[in-house]
Amino acid sequence: MAEHRTPTTEKPRLARQAMCDRLAMEFQDGWIVNLGVGMPTLCSNYVDPTKSLIFHSENGAIGYGPLAAPETADRYLVNAGGQQVTAVPGMAIVHHADSFALIRKGMVDVTVMGAYEVAENGDFANWRVPGRKGGGIGGAMDLAACAKRVFVALEHTTREGEPRLLQRCTLPITAPGVVKLVVTDLGLFEVTPQGFKLSEYAPGWTVGEIQALTGAKLVAADGLREFRVRAAR
């Protein structure tokens, strides 16, 4: 895969918060949203007052609020990452089997997950790396198989500069063919029957430059445009 190894570019890439903001802009009013541990939790920092979202976590909190301030945090209320969150009016707590009953019924409108790799066929891999025994599945397989939409947020390339957007995953996958939308630090990509469709690019980057760092053929969307970032609040 030496052809993917590109000279280090000095161009700035998108910040993690900007990436997650962009995904959160896609959330619709009333959606039940499940955010994976790590980068995806940043999606909850994007607040659009015209939309009410219902945050669901695997451990049975339905309709919880933002991260709690340390001084007022309740240690009995944590999200899927074990972070202390706030109770908001209307929240309900269920046990773990009921929480996944909700997931399997297909009630989660969107789940946002991190990943090591995403493939143009919608496969993605986020639970096992080569050379390491075991893995961390958590609730990712249940969510990926059952949520209405799977969004993935990940760095466009590995630390070694290898692409993470591929024709086919090389790692064991989490679910086949489920990813609908991908954000990386280089842009926004829809997963379509034609493969990855680049719809928004990081400021200053060209399609060719992004393609050079991608392990699958990119299609430029009709309305291809610069990456949209959060409006000032």
């Binding site: 046990h95 399997r104 096992r128 390491r132």
Partner: protein
């Protein structure tokens, strides 16, 4: 009726034999039966099989990892057999890599449903989770109404170790917020359910019958956490 209240954790776990299967709830550091696990650690039962969301964390607190580190556990059934970052090397990860402890990696929802199935007398069930992945390999598949599922079996246990917010003397239990997590389904699944309680164990009749998270019929042993117990 049999008295379910035990004075100490050591008494409550004294009879757990080597080779037992136990369930231990907790998620994100909440709802973990740390006092019971500490007592099982002191008691010394060996060759245990554990059913739990994870196999211990890197913090120094008592959890399933305490039993693993002590060599009391031969196998874990859990949703995490690796820590999120390679830098976090738990006792389990070290021993698992060395082949000193076995593990079955189970998607979290399947884990929860297999526990629920044991408590509900279900022989097996079909779930869509893991279809098309390495974890479904070798499992029976079935297409139902155009969707593919894998067959999963109940996870039975001899003992459930439970952490509750409130209890009455009959064993009716209540949990607080996400402390609930795996606690109710594990309490209902095991053969013997042992509970550590954070508040005074109240007389029967003090908990609203409409607000019971685990009916007392599922509970065998109750221990009030003493002031010098493990509170977090």
């Amino acid at each position: 009726m049999k008295n379910k209240i035990y004075r100490t954790f050591d008494e409550a776990v004294a009879d757990i034999p080597n080779g037992s299967v136990f369930m231990s709830p907790g998620f994100g550091g909440v709802g973990i039966p740390r006092n019971i696990l500490a007592a099982v650690n002191r008691q010394g039962a060996k060759g245990l099989t554990g059913i739990s969301n994870n196999a211990g964390t890197v913090d120094a607190k008592v959890d399933v990892g305490t039993l693993i580190a002590a060599g009391q556990v031969k196998k874990m059934c859990c949703a995490f057999t690796a820590t999120p970052h390679p830098s976090q090397v738990t006792a389990f990860v070290r021993m698992y890599n060395n082949g000193e402890v076995d593990a079955e990696l189970i998607p979290q929802g399947t884990l929860a449903e297999r526990i629920r199935a044991a408590g509900a007398g279900i022989g097996a069930f079909y779930t869509p989770a893991s279809v098309g992945t390495e974890l479904a390999e070798g499992k029976e598949h079935r297409e139902i109404d155009g969707k593919v599922y894998v067959l999963e079996y109940p996870l039975h246990a001899d003992y459930a170790f439970i952490r509750a917010w409130k209890a009455d003397t009959f064993g009716n239990l209540q949990f607080r917020l996400t402390q609930r997590n795996f606690n109710p389904i594990m309490a209902m699944a095991a053969r013997v359910t042992i509970v550590e309680v954070e508040n005074d164990i109240v007389p029967m009749g003090e908990l609203d019958p409409d607000q019971i998270h685990v009916p007392g019929v599922y509970v065998d042993r109750l221990v009030r956490i003493p002031p010098d117990g493990i509170w977090d």
